[in-house]
Amino acid sequence: MTTMLNVKDLRAYYGQVQALHGLSFSLNEGSLTTLLGANGAGKTTTLRAICNMVRSTGVIEFQGKPIGSRSTENVVRLGIAHVPQGRGTFTNMTVEENLQLGAITRGDKKNIVADIERMYDHFPVLKQRYTQQAGTLSGGEQQMLAVARALMLRPRLMLLDEPSFGLAPLVVRDLFRIFSKINREDKVTILVVEQNAQLALELADHAYVIETGRIVMSGNAKDVANNEDVRKSYLGY
């Protein structure tokens, strides 16, 4: 199996404050990996560092090529879609415009319309609301829109930052089922940062646990789920 993303000795800084202290991990092509950790452990920072949205040092390789010096938009153009925390929805634009923005860098204009249709298959609720302002959608719908917008890029790798945040449990289940489907059917490698560890570990095939800016455990998702420390700290039993 080939490596999709390889991160070595990643250190990130907010001003004078260091948030990541030499993080190393890698993602296999086609995998669904989850990054677990408490508040402030550096999960979001890790995703932001991959997209060069925070000052960082270290090596980040995407499909074997270093991408650390690329600007955010150029990282995205390589096929790395990032669904940020808070979803980043363009609230004053319509649902359809949001989807078109997801594909704004693509040259194959013909396929975009077909892809939008495909998103409506994935998320039927978006179809009902395609002319509506995105700001009027509910939280769960906006999260679906954010995921759909990211998929419009036809990404090789998708970074999801706390997709369950603020959503009802049932909605979260649906959403994760879709992630799984995207991962299997569209062959998109996924890295998902989650606080809902139980659900994330159920679906993922690989897991990393991060504490105060360092990786403290990694392995097969099932093994991690069975680890006693993880169970006590993140799963609560």
Binding site: C51, M53, S71, T72, G88, M93, E97, I104
Partner: protein, 292 residues
């Protein structure tokens, strides 16, 4: 009653000037979230360039088109050279930069073309329009061009990908970068377009106010006021705002005793502020909800 109607008509004629300038103001505000105090001077400089071309024998419409293209490139150049390096500087430092640009452009234009007033031609002629003494064919032409420009802008922003990308970059720069939009170039493009629209405004205004380095001072203030009145996020609002300001200015001059030419501006501004106190986002602007 006839006096009233005539003053309204005259107001619409002056309003066309403001509307045209207000469009340029809205354009730059959409791109950089700020009013560019040097915008009027940039438009004045463009107008002088077209005048110079005509002096060299270039026909009006060729000079017009060339000037628009050059202004577009010039706007981008100014952004890349002077304001991109200031992107991370505090907002008020950027405002100081606009003032510096104002001083430079004004002074250079004065040196090249001196401060004497020059006649500027109009392609529409200046006979009375449809027999009305208050509105000339030039002013009617100007209203037409403004509306055309408005339609073009609407089409650009609603139906082109690059227009969509510009809107996205303006409303949420970080999200825009995350879908792969180069927001820095969108800002440069905004400068270019604003500069080109400003050039069109300048060339249409010049036959009315005459050509000289300080011609845009007053016009820009009214342009700002119109754009603010209409709501800075709406090109349509800016144009309507321009006409309203023109009409009000004329009516105030006619009906309020003691209002000479000098007090017209403060009174027009006072009205706008009153409107803003009631509707802080302007007449057609999108209200902005702030959170902590």
């Amino acid at each position: 009653m006839e006096l009233f109607a005539n003053q309204v008509l005259a107001g619409i004629a002056t309003g066309a000037i403001y509307a045209c300038m207000a469009l340029a103001v809205v354009m730059i505000y959409q791109a950089i979230d700020h009013l560019n105090f040097a915008q009027g001077e940039m438009a004045m400089f463009s107008t002088f360039m077209s005048w110079q071309m005509m002096q060299w024998g270039v026909p009006y419409w060729w000079a017009f088109i060339l000037t628009v293209i050059l202004s577009f490139a010039g706007g981008i150049l100014i952004e890349r050279l002077l304001f991109k390096p200031l992107a991370k500087a505090p907002v008020l430092t950027n405002v100081a930069g606009f003032i510096a640009l104002f001083a430079i452009v004004n002074s250079v234009a004065g040196l090249i073309w001196d401060f004497t007033i020059k006649q500027y031609p109009t392609p529409f002629g200046s006979s009375p329009f449809l027999g009305s003494q208050l509105i000339s064919t030039h002013q009617a032409g100007m209203i037409g061009v403004t509306l055309l420009l408005l339609a073009a802008l609407y089409f650009f922003f609603q139906f082109t990908r690059i227009g969509l990308a510009m809107r996205a970059a303006a409303s949420l720069p970080e999200s825009a970068r995350l879908v792969g939009i180069n927001t820095s170039w969108m800002i440069a493009l905004g400068w270019g377009m604003a500069s080109a629209i400003g050039a069109i405004a300048g060339m249409l205004i010049a036959p009315v106010v005459f050509l000289e380095p300080n011609m845009m001072g007053g016009v820009l203030i009214y342009g700002f006021a119109s754009a603010v009145l209409g709501g800075l996020s709406s090109p349509l609002g800016a144009v309507i705002g321009g006409f309203l300001v023109g009409i009000f200015e004329n009516l105030a001059g006619t009906y309020i005793p003691g209002v000479g030419n000098e007090l017209k501006l403060p009174i027009a501004l006072a009205l706008i502020i009153t409107v803003l106190v009631v509707k802080p986002a302007g007449l057609f602007g999108r209200p902005i909800v702030k959170r902590v």
